[in-house]
């Protein structure tokens, strides 16, 4: 089961090679996103769009805030 992490843990995971995924719409991603994050809008998240992600590395998903 996935775990909720805070900012410091995200920074540690990034150093360890985690993949960052922003699930907001493309326009919001284009405006601002975390360094190195890729964009898979939640509405498009399926086996096909997730195929670019590696299963052997940690994944951190985020949106704007607690929404």
């Amino acid at each position: 089961m996935h775990r909720v992490v805070n900012r410091e843990e995200v920074q540690r995971l990034m150093r360890e090679g985690a993949q960052l995924v922003e699930v907001l719409p493309r326009e919001e991603y284009a405006e601002e996103h975390l360094p190195g994050a890729i964009n898979i809008p939640l509405k498009e998240l399926d086996a096909k769009t997730a195929s670019s992600l590696r299963k052997d590395r940690p994944l951190v998903v985020y949106c704007h805030d607690f929404q």
């Binding site: 996935h2 995924v21 405006e31 994050a37 998240l45 992600l53 994944l59 951190v60 998903v61 704007h64």
Partner: protein, 158 residues
């Protein structure tokens, strides 16, 4: 939104999934770097004066006045650099033997580091402020932004 995404990714066979629920609002509010076209505008963290003088609650006004030489304010912080209040010229010019904690203004407004210079200027214009405090969401002092710096940063081509 991110909880649904985390659950969906797990259903797709990803076994090490984390959810950063505070998201990019939290990231930006702490002044951490972001990428994207919106990051090209100047943020107040970029122009905040980190060398603004500080003092403690139990310091005397005379001490704060000495530290604030060349400034018209001194920021009252605790040992964690969390902002507790602010003393202005009016208080700095007062009784040098008074405790800062007794004369400071505790209710001063603070702004997050990722506020743009344009937004800051709009606020300063509306409230007739000459300077504003920049803090992290947990109240730690980043610095003081001055109107002159904000105006320069918010004016295209300056």
């Amino acid at each position: 939104m991110s909880p649904r995404a985390a659950w969906r990714l797990e259903s797709l066979g990803f076994t090490e999934v984390y959810e950063y629920s505070a998201g990019k609002a939290d990231w930006g509010a702490f002044g951490l770097p972001l990428e994207g076209k919106g990051t090209q505008s100047v943020r107040i963290k970029d122009i905040a004066r980190a060398d603004v003088p500080t003092c403690g609650l139990s310091d005397k006004v005379g001490t704060a006045r000495r530290r604030a030489a060349g400034w018209d304010t001194c920021i009252v912080v605790n040992e964690e650099r969390v902002v507790l209040g602010r003393v202005f010229k009016e208080q700095l010019d007062g009784d040098p033997g008074a405790d800062v904690g007794d004369v400071m203004r505790p209710g001063t407004s603070t702004f997050r580091p990722n506020v743009s210079a344009a937004e800051m200027l709009e606020y300063m214009d509306r409230r007739h402020h000459e300077s504003s405090l920049v803090t992290t969401p947990d109240g730690r002092l980043v610095g003081l932004v001055l109107r002159e710096d904000v105006e320069r940063a918010a004016t295209p081509g300056s």
